[in-house]
């Protein structure tokens, strides 16, 4: 459904580009319909850069992202809006996702910008419905400013935008890493709800091996800008083939087993 082909991204720092940082190196990957894929990597692995390239918030230095047989890295204007209505993102920081000056529903109404024209009544109906779908009571949320809601509630509102657009692919960049442990699972569950309801695919970009293992149909392990391993989560966890995955697997603290020598 979506295919990343030989994508690289090089950042240069300074006018005379003395420093070159290769954040993503010749990465190819694909996502199938209705699939939950996790892109796992530690900080500096290039996973966020890749996610921004897929969302077309960044241009790759080379390579292409093919969706519906078009290279989206070249899209502009109307076609780009169409792409964003089909492939949408949710980000890490539920505080930074909202502009402090506007009411929280702004980001929901913004979504209609990507859809065919609707009248106000219909927009309102869809906003209500979306908020309910993410487990919020519309009357408790609408008209509020971001600082009046908790982190978890904000993240739910951000996800509600996907319920309005019902895109084919949702790219979620560390959607729970800044939330409290006890509220995380509730948010994760919303993504599987989206999949169940609209047959949307989800890419979880995460540093959390456990999260990837528990929720996904397929995992991709990223290390220093390269995807080093890919496969069924159980398969990858139990029989990691790449050195890095093996080390990761050994060094992640577990709940049911203890490390030796501690």
């Amino acid at each position: 459904m979506l295919e990343v082909r030989n994508v690289s991204k090089v950042f240069t720092v300074g006018l005379f580009s003395r420093h070159r940082i290769e954040a993503v190196k010749n990465v190819s990957m694909s996502v199938r319909k209705g699939e939950i894929v996790s892109l796992v990597g530690e900080s500096g692995s290039g996973k966020t850069t890749l996610c921004r390239i897929i969302l077309r918030l960044l241009e790759p230095t080379s390579g292409s992202v093919i969706y519906d047989s078009v290279d989206v890295t070249k899209l502009k204007g109307k076609k780009l809006k169409w792409y964003w209505s089909r492939v949408h993102g949710v980000f890490q920081d539920p505080y930074a996702a909202f502009h402090p000056f506007y009411r929280v529903e702004r980001i929901l109404y913004q979504g209609f910008n990507l859809l065919p024209r609707l009248d106000e009544g219909e927009k309102k109906r869809r906003v209500y419905e979306a908020l309910k779908s993410v487990g919020l009571k519309p009357e408790e949320v609408l008209g509020k400013y971001p600082h009046e809601l908790s982190g978890g509630m904000r993240q739910r509102v951000a996800i509600a935008r996907c319920f309005i657009l019902n895109p084919e692919l949702i790219v979620a960049d560390e959607p729970v890493s800044m939330l409290d442990a006890s509220t995380r699972i509730g948010i994760i569950k919303l993504f599987s709800d989206l999949r169940d309801r609209f047959d949307s695919s989800v890419i979880f970009v995460t540093h959390d091996l456990g999260l990837a293992y528990v929720v996904s149909d397929r995992v991709l392990i990223m290390y220093k800008g390269v995807i080093v391993e890919e496969g069924d989560p159980v398969e990858v966890m139990e029989r990691p083939s790449h050195m890095y995955t093996r080390r990761l697997r050994e060094d992640v603290p577990l709940l049911y087993r203890k490390w030796e020598g501690f």
Binding site: L15, R52, L55, L57, L80, K81, W84, H88, G89, F91, Q92, D93, A96, A97, F98, H99, P100, F101, Y102, I107, Q110, G111, N113, L114, Y145, A158, R161
Partner: protein, 284 residues
């Protein structure tokens, strides 16, 4: 957006003493300039009485070496200075904000070039540039003086706006707006500008006080406006005609004191706003 900004101004702001004090002083000086002419109807440019008369009931601030009323000059001067200050500050702010926004938002080559320009202007002392430019104009109306001050004092605004824009443009709300198909222009106007609104307001206040001081400096070296009165003009004539050495204190103390009061209260206002908007400074 306006409702958003007005939401930021809460009664707490008035609990900052510096804010109240500076507002009070500002109000008094503005009243002097704008209500003063109604209450004190003496021509500032006409000979009103004896030469070099010390303050008295008739001439509350005395007269100058030509017999012109100093209080009347002060009233006109405050207005002239405020006018130049306000215009010059607006010009600097406009340049600084536009340069900063473009550099910060566009990034890459545009950013590098604009910042190089900014750093160069920053390195060349603005007061010297002003004097140099003004020297080539024989006639200088208040607008020209404002422009000269304005085009030489924007770099630090540009730098600050750029760095704020840089940190804002990768915020997630900008990405969300982008993904909703908003154009760069719309994002800058709706998402970035409101966030630096408080800073822009503070910058304006500081630029204004800086511009009024700069105007006085230009005037003192003989390059102020050649039309109308400013506080700097009064000080210039007092200096040229040796008011200090001849002990005519009422001629040079009031205009200077008014300028200091204006500039200091504007700075204090900016400091108070900064404390209000950046609670880090206020204490934990």
């Amino acid at each position: 957006m306006l409702s958003g900004i007005s939401k930021l101004i809460k009664p707490e702001l008035f609990m900052i003493k510096k804010f109240d004090a500076s507002l009070g002083v500002l109000f008094a000086v503005f009243a002097l300039g704008f209500i003063g002419p109604l209450l004190y109807q003496v021509q500032p440019t006409a000979v009103a009485g004896p030469l070099e008369a010390p303050p008295s009931r008739q001439f509350p601030l005395g007269t100058d070496a030509y017999g012109k009323d100093v209080l009347a000059q002060l009233i006109a001067g405050v207005r002239g200075s405020l006018q130049i200050g306000a215009t010059a500050a607006a010009i600097s702010l406009l340049i600084g904000v536009i340069v900063g926004l473009i550099a910060g938002y566009k990034g890459k080559l545009v950013d590098n070039l604009l910042m190089m320009l900014t750093d160069i202007v920053l390195l060349l002392p603005s007061i010297l540039l002003m004097i140099l430019i003004a020297a080539y104009f024989k006639w200088r109306d208040p607008l020209l003086v404002s422009i000269i001050i304005g085009v030489t004092s924007w770099p630090w605004v540009a730098r600050a706006v750029r760095s704020q824009t840089l940190s804002l443009k990768n915020r997630e709300f900008v990405n969300l707006s982008k993904m909703a198909g908003l154009s760069d222009f719309q994002i800058v106007i709706r998402d970035i500008l409101p966030n630096i609104a408080s800073y822009i307001f503070m910058a304006y206040v500081l630029l204004m006080s800086g511009a009024m001081i700069a105007e006085t400096g230009l005037s003192m070296i003989g390059l102020g406006t050649t039309q109308g009165l400013t506080l700097g003009n009064i000080l210039f004539w007092a200096q040229v005609l040796e008011a200090v050495r001849r002990g005519l204190w009422w001629w040079f103390i009031p205009p200077g004191a008014t300028l200091v009061a204006l500039a200091a209260s504007l700075l204090m206002l900016a400091t108070a706003l900064d404390e209000y908007f950046n609670p880090k400074l206020r204490g934990s």
